[in-house]
């Protein structure tokens, strides 16, 4: 709760809205106890008194009634009606939406078509029709406004419920013997409450306006009862001669609706977990760089990652995702980067081209040199001209990297023309050739397909074609086959291997699968807790791993053909990179760990084979 308030008030506008609304609500609540004129007391002698007149702070209306008193009583009424309407619409709408979304099928179809029919009427017409049937009066206006807004809630909540009803925990609840009613009440509803609150907070203002609208037309509160809409309606005739009678309720409506909407937006942002995690902050075009010194250039590798440090700074915590990682890539070489989730392998890859989202990512040290040119801290224009042209990426999930609304051909053509200003026709020809290169059957026809029309394997081929579009020197492949089936994985790996041989590509291949590394890579680097713990030629590392982590990780992976067996496991969990232990990060899980392992820094030693261990399995 305090977190929620902190988030809410971090948004200044929402805080302002909360304060304004708070003052209005307090005033409305205190109205009966304030020393005011009775709101309905007429005094024809004092008609249309100007504001700040004696005894009437805001003046009087056409019957000489005190405007301040009427304003506060009216506000009280309008707020109450608005909140009540929102509550009714929210509850009824949510109930309909939850039912439709959970049961689906025919129930869903029939209810939602009914809701659609309600939505087909202009809302004010529908409200008028309801009031016409029920007769004028504040209560009936409230009912009309609530009914008119039910479809909004029902549709909104139905969408959310459909998403939840297919989650696995609902299945688990059914298997645990829960009936539909119980599942709805204890499993579904708690998960949609935030959505209902968000929807309500953003619509209360709208409902207050609608109620005022009906009262303005004389269908809401009946004379002499004051609400903001009827005050406006009564003042209409004197709009020119005594504008203050319209301005006073008008300004109040403006203040209420504005503050409610600002607060509602704030509540939405604070409650929505996606927005809370910083999705509202647009990431910078390139990762923020904040490094004390630049390591001196050395060597002539194609890509030289030198003591790279990337951190995520979230609040007071610092996650050292990449901790002094050094890697080299020569032309035509395939380097495997292997590690478990959270080991920092993907962040290393994304740091190369400054693609780590900032905030919260910061590159705090090291250098990444492409043929001697440092890319860390390079101007954005330079990075942009290199991204895709010299260094291209292939990502894990081709469905989320391809734009769902554009044909794959258009996306390929765009990728080509970003770096090479050729005509559309020429780019189209090249795109067909690219699809042919990645062995997509019938490329001339498939180029017009949308991503969803292709299978996972075909989509990943398009992803590879896109990476190849500008003939890059380096491809960084981040788990490109993890989402694919084994038979398709084999196809994609064979394709990558062939492209590498034919085009002389250097590949940085990120994976968690030793089998894949063994088949594809010349060299391998093993990461753990943000650092490289072992590196060397693939065959040598796999045959005789030097670091205990590498040895035991390999032992964990069952190999086909071994038959039924007990698998070796590593007890414990990988460390959290915001609280790395001193010394070796693997020491808490290592059976060879000694006191020396838990002190000071363990260095990465060796020449062609390097290992970060005081007691390696084999001499590196």
């Amino acid at each position: 709760m305090s977190l929620f308030l902190r988030l809410l008030f971090r948004n200044k506008l929402a805080g302002f809205g909360a304060v304004v609304l708070g003052v209005i609500v307090v005033l409305a609540l205190l109205t009966p106890f304030l020393p005011l004129h009775p709101p309905n007391e007429t005094s024809t002698a004092n008609r249309y008194l100007r504001p700040l007149s004696d005894g009437h702070l805001l003046g009087t209306d056409h019957l000489g009634r005190d405007l301040l008193s009427r304003l506060l009583w009216g506000t009280r009424l309008s707020l109450a009606v608005g909140f009540a309407a929102a509550l009714i619409a929210g509850l009824v709408g949510a109930a309909i939406g939850v039912m439709a979304g959970y049961f689906g099928g025919r129930t869903d179809n029939v209810t939602m078509r009914g809701i659609d029919m309600l939505m087909a009427f202009p809302y004010i017409l529908l409200a008028l029709a309801i009031v016409a049937v029920l007769g004028p009066g504040l209560m009936n206006a409230l009912i009309a406004v609530a009914v008119v807004n039910i479809p909004f809630f029902a549709r909104n909540i139905r969408g959310v419920t459909v998403g939840i009803a297919h989650r696995e925990f609902i299945d688990a609840a059914r298997l645990a013997g829960m009936g539909h009613t119980r599942i709805l009440l204890t499993e579904v509803v708690p998960n949609i409450v935030p959505v209902v609150v968000i929807a309500m907070s953003t619509t209360i203002g709208w409902m207050i306006l609608e109620t005022a609208g009906l009262s303005f037309l004389g269908l809401g509160s009946q004379p002499p009862q004051a609400d903001l809409g009827s005050m406006l309606g009564e003042a209409r005739s004197a709009l020119i001669t005594s504008p203050h009678t319209s301005i006073v309720p008008g300004v109040m409506i403006l203040l209420i609706v504005m503050s409610v909407n600002l607060l509602g937006d704030g509540i939405r942002d604070a409650l929505d977990p996606r927005l809370r995690s910083g999705a509202l902050a647009r990431p910078m075009a390139a990762t923020r760089v904040d490094r004390a010194q630049v390591p001196p250039a050395k060597g002539d590798a194609l890509l030289d990652i030198d003591a790279l440090e990337t951190q995520f700074q979230v609040g007071r915590r610092t996650y050292k995702a990449v901790n002094k990682v050094s890697l080299e890539l020569k032309p035509g070489e395939c380097l495997g980067l292997i590690g478990e989730s959270g080991s920092g392998k993907s962040v290393t890859a994304l740091s190369v081209m400054g693609l780590v989202a900032s905030p919260p990512g910061v590159i705090t040290g090291g250098a990444v040199r492409l043929e001697g040119q440092d890319l860390i801290g390079a101007p954005y224009e330079l990075l942009r001209s290199l991204r895709g042209r010299r260094v291209a990426y292939i990502f894990q999930d081709p469905l989320s990297t391809l734009h769902p609304l554009y044909r794959i051909g258009d996306q390929l053509i765009e990728a080509i023309r970003v770096h090479d200003p050729v005509s559309r026709a020429a780019a189209h020809k090249r795109a067909v050739k690219l699809l042919e290169d990645v062995r997509i059957p019938n490329p001339a026809a498939r180029i017009n397909a949308f991503p969803h029309e292709l299978s996972g394997g075909m989509r990943q081929r398009v992803g590879i074609a896109m990476a190849l579009a500008n003939d890059p020197d380096i491809i960084i492949a981040d788990e490109p086959t993890t989402a694919l089936d084994v038979t398709v994985q084999a196809q994609i790996l064979a394709l990558l291997d062939e492209l590498r041989q034919r085009r002389g590509l250097a590949i940085l291949f990120i994976t968690h699968d030793f089998g894949v590394v063994g088949q594809l890579c010349d060299r391998v680097a093993v990461m753990y807790g943000g650092r490289i713990v072992e590196t060397g030629p693939t065959q040598a590392v796999l045959d005789a791993p030097a670091h205990p982590y590498t040895r035991r990780l390999i032992a964990c992976v069952p190999e086909l053909g071994g038959g039924r067996r007990i698998l070796a496991a590593i007890p414990g969990l990988p460390p959290a990179v915001d609280q790395l232990p001193e010394g070796c990060a693997f020491a808490p899980r290592c059976d060879k760990a000694q006191d020396a392992c838990r002190r000071g820094e363990v260095t990465l030693d060796g020449t062609t084979r390097k290992v970060r261990c005081l007691f390696p399995e084999v001499a590196p």
Binding site: D171, A173, G456, T487, A490
Partner: protein, 317 residues
Amino acid sequence: MTLALKTTDLARTFDIGKRLIGPPRGQVHAVHPVSLEVAQGETLGIVGESGCGKSTLARMLVGLLPPSAGTIEIEGRALDRADPAAFGRLIQYVFQDPVSSLNPRKTIRQIMETPLRRLYGMRGRALDARIAELFDAVNLRPEFLDRYPHEFSGGQAQRIGIARALAASPRILILDEPVSALDVSVQAQVLNLLADLKAEFNLTYLFISHDLAVVEAVSDRIAVLYFGSVVETGPAEKVFASPRHPYTKLLADSAPVVGKPLGGASHGELPDPLNPPPGCAFASRCPRASDLCRAEVPALRRIEGDQFAACHHPREP
């Protein structure tokens, strides 16, 4: 040998393009009639690629999805209606994604209590004692009970999922890709835990996975699914070592193994489920396909010993 689970011609079709009134626009046969027998205490591994119907099959077996045809027998008792509560005491399910299978707004204790209360009417001290016993069985600390699911790593969440499934005291556990979402070092922990639990509680497992090596390591028998049909069954040590169906052979060759050159076929995909080919679904990718394969669907038949394959031209060992 007593049978723990027996399915006879279990099948499921889905309607595509449903209309408010009138017949649907098309039908997809997600699972073609499948007959399986699992003995008491056995682990049957089910492998197949995405879209082969393995999850649909699993959901029918636990009653989450009513079958279109066929029967399910658990320990000799027929369970055909989809009533998860009736199934729940006999057969339970462990989900693929450990975190999304736990309601984010409930504490672990509330999650663990549900099956005990609903299926067995347990209350009070007996309930607490049983939860403590289950948590001990899956090596979790009791103080975890008052936390919320998002506070757990994947491996811990999967243990909670297993403990919840065990709470129903089922005879059979369906494990649907229970370790796919986990890191390798944690995967081995969970697999070994499952092996221990099986011995301790005398359970029968159906282990579904796309990872051939994992399935081979934990199973007694393996069934290979392709395009909704069982194409091969046999003892775990034989199915991938000497596959009889060409598809099993392709799977075994595709699995990446250190020291083996890149293998598998260079192309080929699943047929369109809305427009399935006549005859064998694998024919278009099969090097041994003949005209017979393209015309007639092969039935699952005994090839040799306890190896069965649905193929007109099975491979020699």
